[in-house]
Amino acid sequence: MILQAILVGLVGALGCFDYQLGTLYMFRPIVMCPLVGLVLGDLQTGLAVGASLELLFMGSISIGAYVPPNETIGGVLSCAFAISLHQGTEAAIALAMPIAVLSLALGNLTAPIWPFFVDKADTCAKNGNLKGIYAVHLGIGLYGCLEYFVLCGGAFLLGVEAVQGILDWIPEFVLNGFGVAANILPAMGFAMLGRLVITKKLVPFYFLGFVICAYMGVPVLGVAIIAIIIGIEKFDLLGGAVDAPSTSLALEGDDDDDF
């Protein structure tokens, strides 16, 4: 049992270490669950749970500064429980989202201490101490791996009743609150991205993109292609209208003569 818990913990830690390997998306349930299945000796259930959970967490991706529910810990644990209790995919799906939201909240507990270490790196740079910057980078990352290891291995060791007990013990409004927060966070992620990009000149295009998507049902890639065409056309990037500067934008007119 302890050996199994360590192996499950290691799979979780590997999921976190994936961020050092180039964010290969190995931390997704579709990879994590079969690995859990492999270490617990039931690859077939692992594959089936992985497929279902990947669908469940399809929209749960990190865009901008938005941090989604932790699909890695949610996937690893719910799959491990489903296999060890000989339950099917449904049990795993029921457990996955609450565990994922809880793991996100636990992970955020340590977030306030990191700025201190990140500022330490600035001091290292002032002293030309590159090793110090490496230490901060690896320290923050490896702490994350340890956290995943302890959460996955520990919760597996405690057993599904204990975890279910914890989830039941937490008042419903808290879990609902996490759920609402998880839904608000994308808006915040966008707002943070927006603060970087939006200028007065660009606001109309933001709404144009929104309208094309919301009213015409064009998928994101389609919007991107339309946007590229608008960009090329508006600024004449292909140089087709060099001979007719009068048709160019009045705003940028003086610059066009150089081409």
Binding site: G22, V31, G128, G139, F205, I212
Partner: protein, 211 residues
């Protein structure tokens, strides 16, 4: 400035010889910093540590005779950074080509972070929609279909489909970013072409973050 006087002594280095080779750039696109962009991610400055580590070795080379400049450059590249990870080496290439000119005193040091900040938003918008909304979904669809059939190749197919374009973009991007930084960025800046291209890229970025 010390670097300026050195240039006058060895003028041949200004035109042809570049300190940074293609090999340096290639290595930087696959080093611990480049691949670990999200390893030390914090809400505070996000990918700043990893970005600094990605370019650190090349900064050492550029400022090999200028310890103060090297330290200042390290600190400069510890500024807030966030991007779709696969685009990070591209921005690293642009930053390094600018650093070469900063070392010669041709550009204000602060400009490099302005350019990084200007690239972040649009490239993240494009990158997230290509990698997360398109390639990932295709990879997951193939992987899920195989997994549901009980085929252990499912997760492997998912990883291959998702990552091959990403690694290609890393390796190609760092060279392209460096070339653009050296040749295109400065010449284009005079004609206002850069401002227009950046606005055009911003339009793409802003339109895809809306949906």
């Amino acid at each position: 400035m010390t670097s300026d006087t050195e240039l006058e002594i060895k003028p041949e280095e200004t035109q042809e010889e570049r300190v940074i080779t293609k090999k340096d750039l290639f290595r930087s696109s696959l080093n611990l910093g480049s691949l670990g962009m999200e390893f030390s991610w914090t809400y505070y400055k996000q990918m700043n540590l990893a970005f600094c580590l990605m370019v650190a070795k090349m900064l050492r080379k550029i400022y090999r005779n200028d310890e103060e400049g090297y330290r200042a450059a390290l600190e400069r590249h510890l500024a807030f950074f966030n991007i779709t990870v696969q685009f990070a080496p591209f921005v690293g290439g642009v930053a390094i080509s600018m650093e070469e000119r900063i070392a010669k005193g041709e550009i204000e040091p602060e400009r490099v972070n302005d350019v990084k900040a200007a690239l972040m938003g649009p490239l993240s918008g494009i990158g997230d929609s290509i990698f997360l909304a398109v390639i990932r979904v295709i990879a997951a669809a193939v992987g899920i279909a195989l997994c549901e059939a009980g085929n252990p190749f499912g997760p492997i197919a998912f990883l291959l489909i998702y990552n091959i374009p990403g690694f290609w973009l890393r390796i190609w991007g760092v060279q392209k970013g460096y070339e653009l930084g050296v040749g295109f960025l400065d010449q284009a800046a005079n004609g206002g072409f850069m401002a227009k291209a950046m606005t055009a890229v911003s339009i793409v970025g802003i339109m895809v973050v809306g949906p």
